[in-house]
């Protein structure tokens, strides 16, 4: 059994606004093991970025508030830590890669100094040693001619190269946990593929655990070992990547899968959409937050919030459809057909 690196228990984050208190994260629990990648997927406003920022303790207080729960890194709860203690955790234990490599770098500072700055802050080594390590890091993230690049400014790099620099900075202090918040959304597909390969490669070499936040299900299928699907500040389905893609149980997950065109089986039928829009989290709806958009919603969905039902040892879903008394509703036909096609092809390939 792999060692547990991170454990998030019933995390609740609120934001105070003029309109009222926004319950951005409403009781999120998950765990992350060493060397694995957990993908968090969901629409904008589902709380996925707030969850990851909360782990880094980057929620500004006020207006933010840790309203409950705990975030345990190797058994130690991060929430009560002071800012001073936390700044040792950041970079050393947890590092973050942001969506926009254009704004994550300081435009007035040479790339080299932006990397050595992190190394020197966290380790007691000389400046020249730090430089050697920085050049090695640039080489590790696949930047050609690292000695020359070391002296350049961010504007001399392309978008993909800048994201590599951001990754190099994140890796500078050799963190155990890397949080990547939509790291490839701003990049072209070919560059995206290179960055994903790089992250997997680094994970293999260093055994880093990764939390990968994205709304692109193709990217999830590519990088994730396990997946948490978030909706309205809660995890609604949680399982291995195969559980989620080949045996999805939550109607919201069905909706997400259905909104992507089925390229492989070349079906040109109308895309399944999720009608409506996400709920207002100042007044979260009573019962299941997804009920108003759920074509399979039952009376109880408007009354009582569903618990996490266990589907298998690894697979959980928060929907009343899994209750033994619920009518048997299967995955919509268009999605099950697609999954069958995928699995058949995989068998064919051996």
């Amino acid at each position: 059994m792999k060692k547990k690196l991170l454990e998030v228990n019933d995390l609740k984050i609120n934001f105070k606004t003029y309109a009222g208190i926004v319950q951005a994260v409403r009781g999120v629990s998950f765990e992350l093991f060493e060397g694995e990648t957990l993908a968090i997927v969901g629409e904008s406003g589902s709380g996925k970025s707030v969850t990851s920022n909360a782990i880094m303790k980057l929620i500004p207080q006020p207006p933010g508030l840790y309203a409950g729960g705990e975030i345990k890194l190797e058994g130690r709860n991060l929430i009560p830590l002071t800012e001073k203690q936390m700044s040792k955790v950041r970079g050393n234990d947890i590092a973050m890669i942001f969506q926009d490599p254009m704004t994550a770098l300081n435009p007035t500072m040479r790339i080299g100094r932006q990397i050595t700055e992190v190394i020197l802050k966290h380790q007691k080594i000389s400046a020249s040693e730090a430089k050697d390590r920085a050049i090695k890091l640039l080489d590790l993230v696949g930047i050609p001619m690292p000695e020359k690049r070391f002296k350049q400014f961010p504007h001399e790099f392309s978008g993909g190269m800048r994201q590599r620099v951001v990754i190099a900075i994140a890796l500078a202090a050799d963190p155990k946990l890397l949080i990547a918040d939509e790291p490839t959304t701003a990049l072209d597909v070919t560059i995206q593929a290179q960055i994903l390969e790089l992250m997997k490669d680094i994970q293999k070499k260093r055994g880093t655990s990764i939390i990968f936040i994205t709304h692109d299900l193709g990217v999830v299928a590519n990088v994730a070992d396990r997946v948490a699907v978030m909706y309205a500040g809660q995890i609604v389905e949680y399982g291995t990547v195969n559980d989620i893609f080949y045996n999805p149980k939550h109607p919201y997950t069905w909706g997400l899968l259905g909104s992507m065109p089925d390229l492989k089986n070349n079906v040109k039928e109308e895309l399944r959409t999720i009608p409506g829009s996400p709920p207002d989290l100042i007044h979260p709806p009573k019962g299941d937050a997804f009920a108003p958009r759920n074509e399979y919603a039952m009376a109880i969905d408007y009354e009582e919030e569903p618990p996490m039902f266990q589907v298998s040892e690894t697979h959980f879903a928060k929907t009343w459809l899994l209750h033994p008394d619920a009518p048997a509703i299967e995955v919509p036909e268009s999605i099950s057909r697609r999954i069958e096609g995928y699995l058949k092809e995989a068998q064919g390939n051996g």
Partner: protein
């Protein structure tokens, strides 16, 4: 065979100093047939948006010819002809936040075209037309009095679509219309675009970098790279039988929502090689064109 609605012939669009111009679009040719959707894909900076903007006359083109319904669109035009042209061709923009005037209501935004072209007899008819358009794109007539900030991203894109439809155009250029939207909202907008195309016999130029949606919505796809169309053909043909190495590379990078395939995915890298002689479009299979020199073509089609 459907009629040609738009013909682009050797279009060149250069920017910057004449001595050392940036060749954003460097001699491309393609046709768009009535009622079809042509997808234009490529990485950022390949010239796909510039192509769209040149077609709708946002730029004065450097060289070449664009014919719309057989007429040169960049030729000198009287005010009346220009108005006529503007009615026929409309654009949907990428950013639904930036492309709507925040000081105008949805009704004013949609109705602005009516005022310019004088397309109503009285205010009642104008109101009615706006309501019809709102309903056609899946909004309510009550939404006419709201301002842009009161709508979500997906709803704003619907207003952008209603505005593009207001003059009853035959041709719509959609420049990355779904890139800024969430997956589930993307699907709603794509379904809407397809429905409107059926109902109104619209022709689309769909510009995007997301190959999976482009494949889904387009009848034919043109792949652009460094200001050139490197491959052009039926969507299925491009997807299943790509010939240009750049197209192959691009396709090999698109992740699919299928973990078993993703685990064995092998990306094909592409390195651009400059050639002495300039290439041209070769028709390798019926209606499937690939750009390259004769030598390259021999190598690729082997």
């Amino acid at each position: 065979m459907a009629n040609k609605l738009l013909e682009v012939k050797n279009l060149k669009q250069y920017f910057g100093a004449a001595g050392n111009p940036i060749k954003a679009v460097d001699g491309i040719s393609f046709d768009i047939y009535e009622g079809e959707t042509l997808g234009l894909v490529g990485e950022s900076g390949c010239g796909k948006s510039t192509t769209g903007r040149s077609i709708i006359r946002l730029y004065d083109i450097t060289d070449g010819e664009i014919l719309f319904k057989g007429k040169n669109i960049h030729g000198s035009k009287s005010k009346k002809e220009l108005k006529e042209f503007n009615r026929e061709m409309q654009m949907i923009f990428q950013d639904p936040y930036a492309s709507l005037n925040p000081r105008m209501t949805a009704g004013e935004i949609i109705g602005e075209g009516f005022d310019i072209h004088g397309l109503y007899r009285n205010m009642k008819e104008r109101r009615e037309r706006i309501a019809e358009l709102l309903e056609a794109v899946g909004l309510n007539r009550e939404h006419a009095n709201r301002y842009a900030h009161e709508f979500s991203g997906g709803q704003r894109q619907r207003i952008g679509i209603a505005r593009a439809l207001s003059l009853n155009p035959s041709f719509i250029i959609a420049d990355e219309p779904i890139s800024a939207l969430d997956v589930s909202i993307q699907a709603q907008v794509v379904n809407l675009l397809k429905k409107l195309q059926r109902e109104r016999n619209l022709t689309y130029l769909f510009i995007a970098h997301d190959l999976s949606m482009v494949k889904y919505i387009s009848d034919r796809i043109a792949v652009m790279y460094r200001g050139k169309v490197v491959e052009l053909g039926k969507s299925d043909e491009i997807y299943n039988n790509p010939i240009h190495p750049y197209t192959k590379s691009l396709l090999s990078a698109v992740p699919l929502p299928d973990p078993l395939t993703e685990r064995v995915r092998e990306r094909i890298p592409y390195s651009h090689e400059e050639t002495e002689e300039s290439g041209k479009l070769h028709e390798v299979l019926p209606a499937h064109f690939v750009y390259g020199t004769d030598n390259q073509m021999k190598k690729w089609t082997k």
